[in-house]
């Protein structure tokens, strides 16, 4: 998001200190990407959980069964589902939309898919960065052996 860094620089023209700085920056970027990737994975798992919950609980048969609704993590009250067909889905920024169970599943599946493409994009960038790091590292080693002679 900062200034574009598309200019070509010959790595061999840099000093070892400069190269180390370049490597550090790349390492930081890779770490950032990995963090983002883990977060996306977690979000994906959460959406899967939602799908399971909707599939397991939101169907017409459920309306006859008594349910225990958690008020806190350790306090439950018996209740019945008055509307076993609809759920309210959080679509973001404080808006909720009433959907039928299959619609909700579709919504979450689409979300999972979006995340998947995002993750693939990140993976691509990460592979590129890892490759860059390897190149920088090899130039550093090369310079060091040359300097030692």
């Amino acid at each position: 998001m900062a200034a574009p860094q598309q200019q070509q620089i010959d790595l061999n023209s840099l000093t070892i200190d400069n190269l180390a700085a370049v490597k550090k920056q790349l390492d930081d970027e890779i770490e950032h990407l990995m963090g983002a990737s883990t977060k996306l994975k977690k979000a994906q798992d959460r959406f899967r959980e939602y799908i399971n919950a909707v599939k397991a609980g939101i169907k017409p048969e459920t309306s006859d069964k008594p349910l225990l609704i958690p008020l806190t993590t350790s306090l439950f009250v018996p209740a019945k589902l008055s509307d076993p067909e609809h759920v309210l889905v959080d679509v973001g920024t404080g808006y909720f939309v009433e959907k039928t169970a299959p619609e909700a599943v579709k919504f979450y599946t689409a979300k999972i898919k979006t995340i998947e493409t995002n993750m693939a994009d990140i993976q691509k960038v990460m592979t590129q960065k890892l490759q860059n790091v390897r190149v920088v590292e090899s130039v550093i080693v090369q310079k060091q052996t040359q300097g030692g002679q």
């Binding site: 998001m1 309210l88 679509v91 920024t93 808006y95």
Partner: protein, 121 residues
């Protein structure tokens, strides 16, 4: 003011610019995530029928809202976020230019000092 004092002052100014820059970059990133979240909501609203039941979270309660009203709300928010992004972008460009200028000043002073030191020997 001696050269080394001048250099110190310049470095301080440069560091100030950098701190400012990092806060602005952070603001820009926050706007970006807000933008994408609102865009996904807009997309979702677009795929809904006009009779869709939409609720808005106000504090701890959900209030029923007309779809047209909700769509308008999100559109307005997107407009605001986009104008904010423009504002922050200009700010970012200004700071970058300022930083670049300071850097040149510092390097100039440093070479000047080195030359003076070399001449004194």
């Amino acid at each position: 003011m001696s050269d080394s004092q001048k250099l110190q002052a310049l470095t301080q100014e440069f560091q100030n610019i950098q701190t400012e820059l990092s806060t602005v970059v952070e603001a820009r990133q926050k706007l970006e995530s807000q933008l994408s979240e609102n865009q996904s909501v807009q997309k979702e609203f677009g795929s809904l029928g006009d009779d869709a039941k939409i609720y808005k979270l106000v504090g701890p309660v959900l209030l029923k809202q007309e779809k047209s009203e909700a769509v308008m709300g999100v559109d307005r928010r997107l407009e605001f976020i986009n104008s904010e992004i423009n504002r922050v972008e200009t700010q970012l460009a200004e700071l970058n230019a300022k930083q670049e200028k300071k850097k040149i000043e510092i390097i100039g002073l440093q070479t000047q000092m080195q030359e003076a030191a070399a001449a004194a020997e």
